[in-house]
Amino acid sequence: MAGSKASTPPKGKKGSVKEGIKGVMYGMAAHGHVTAALRTRMYLEHLFMFITLGDMLGVPVIPPYYSLRILPYAVPNIKSWKQRVFRERDFTDGVF
């Protein structure tokens, strides 16, 4: 994840200044785009989860055979998926 890399504490005063400048440049030039790319991935993952688990939620999207085949890949993401889907969303979330 881009953010966690940048939040690593810099070493020494010189290193701190260098990390600060790098962080500012990254924040100005690319961070918004990285966040937008992550959001796009999030929506695709939502779709993936829905396709996989739709059958179990009462909305059959693909045949259960395939659902069960890809279930092991979906299970680790169920918790974060639930958290994101249930989160209150609003038009003001889409500003940037």
Partner: protein, 594 residues
Amino acid sequence: MGLLNTPFLWVVITIAVYIVAYMAYGRWVDRKVWKVDAKRTTPAHMYMDGVEFFPVSRYVLWGYQFKSVAALGPILGPFIGIAFGWLPALLWIIAGNFFIGWLQDYGSLMLSVRKEGRSFGPITYEFTGAKGRRNLLAFVLFYLIIISATFIALIAAFWNAFGGTTFVPTIGVILAGVLCGQLLYRVKMNVFAVTAIGLLLVVFSIWLGIQIPVVLNFGVWNVVVWAALCAVILYFAAVLPTPTFIQPTNYLAFYPAYAAIILLLVGALASPLTNVPLAEPAFVGVWVTNFGPIWPILFVAIACGAISGWHSLVSSSSSAKQLDIETDALPVGGGAMLSEGLLALVSLAAYSVVAGLNPLGSSPTAWVSGSELLVAPLVGGRAVAGAVLSTFFGLVLIIYAITVQALVTRFFRLVAGETWSEGRFRILGNKHVSTFFSLGVSWLFAVTGSWWALWLYFGGANQLLAGLAIMLIAIYLAKSRALTRNYLIPGVFMIVTTLAALVYETYTFLNAFVQYVFLGNSGPLGSQTKPPVSGYPLAALTIDAVFVIVGVSLFAVGLSMSIRLFRSYRQSKAEARVRAPAAADGGDPAKEEE
């Protein structure tokens, strides 16, 4: 040349005042009002999902916040502001940011952090109910249309100026951006190589723009055609996937845009050495013909450099979800706003060295002339670098407008999608229809030519949004039994000022309408619009009537929202008085017992 008759001295003084705002007032508010605690868990940690919620270093978040809030506002606002003289404009940039601007950005960020990373929509719902949120939605829709109209009008005016040298570079930046996106996402090329290729293409397109100027020959209809062309580009920006158009284009546009700010700051600080004197009067008067009274007009003309409501939406949208620790809120929210004040400051410096500036008569392209005057002596003089600097700074103006406008158009589409997702008007929720609708209306407003009136409406709506955001913050602080006066006083000031500005602007359009229809006097009607619209009295009259409706609607929605917020504030205060103590720090029982 002395220090007093160049922009140097007041640039240095303003920087010093901003440092005091950050180091003294900022830290006081941090400690006494918000009682920030680095140990309290922020939403970035509480809900970390690696997608929307994740902690980011303060440097990255500052850069992101600054990039998100700095646009055309602080560059063009001072152009109207300087009609009253550079001194009042400067004082508002200093005092507005010191007492209100940074406080709002920082407060919005903190409010959202304390409210689990929620954005302003749900917070408005919590504090003012469903009607309040609907009011906000309506207000934001109006606001987006007005921003779009203003920016389209300005982009068209910029393409029409500078001898037509900026159109090719603009298209160059867009095409280079799209190419960079393909190289980055499809070819998976290294980001540094892609950036280098993109920047070389931008430099090439600037050169090409000087060699092949694009000049239209439609006379007074030039701006109408340019505005239509701009709307077409924005349409593609809004409907295409962001990684295809907006993302890479905005990424590439970042470099020339920020290089220009640094150049301008250096030029303003070096002005005593390069002998660039102040050419504008310090003070013109408290009433300027065609603009009106200094209060409230100046306070809405200079919006983003002093205070801007848009920032509250930005602060509560992404930044609050990624704030690592609470103590980072001051450098991120407050620091980014104070830095934006510097952008307004250097823009004011650029305008102040241009002689004979008349915001009504001349074009806002004067920023380019001023920038050229300040920077040219550093790069070999106007004779050597004049054409390149003029095209470069002209391109920068357009970049600031078009990159933000692409995001605004896209945002309108998202808001429209939510507003009209079902019901009789669901066709307006369709992404193509809503984009076409917003750009069509904006284009119609833009071609009236009265960009300054649109700017004042935009400023009024923007500052009113700021006032409303400050009141939301004050409500939260009242509920938390924290100090509210630092927010309440600026909130009331901004709401009263901006409602007054909206009334005045609506009056000017209404007056033009009444004068023409009932008294047969076409003078005011002619001054409210520009050719070609002003040549057709019926069209000008219709536009006037539409602007009256826009002004009345903005005022009504703003007033209704303000009343709800004031009621909610009063109620929160009353509840806080009778409730068990709870501090803004979340009500730590240990602290309450003290």
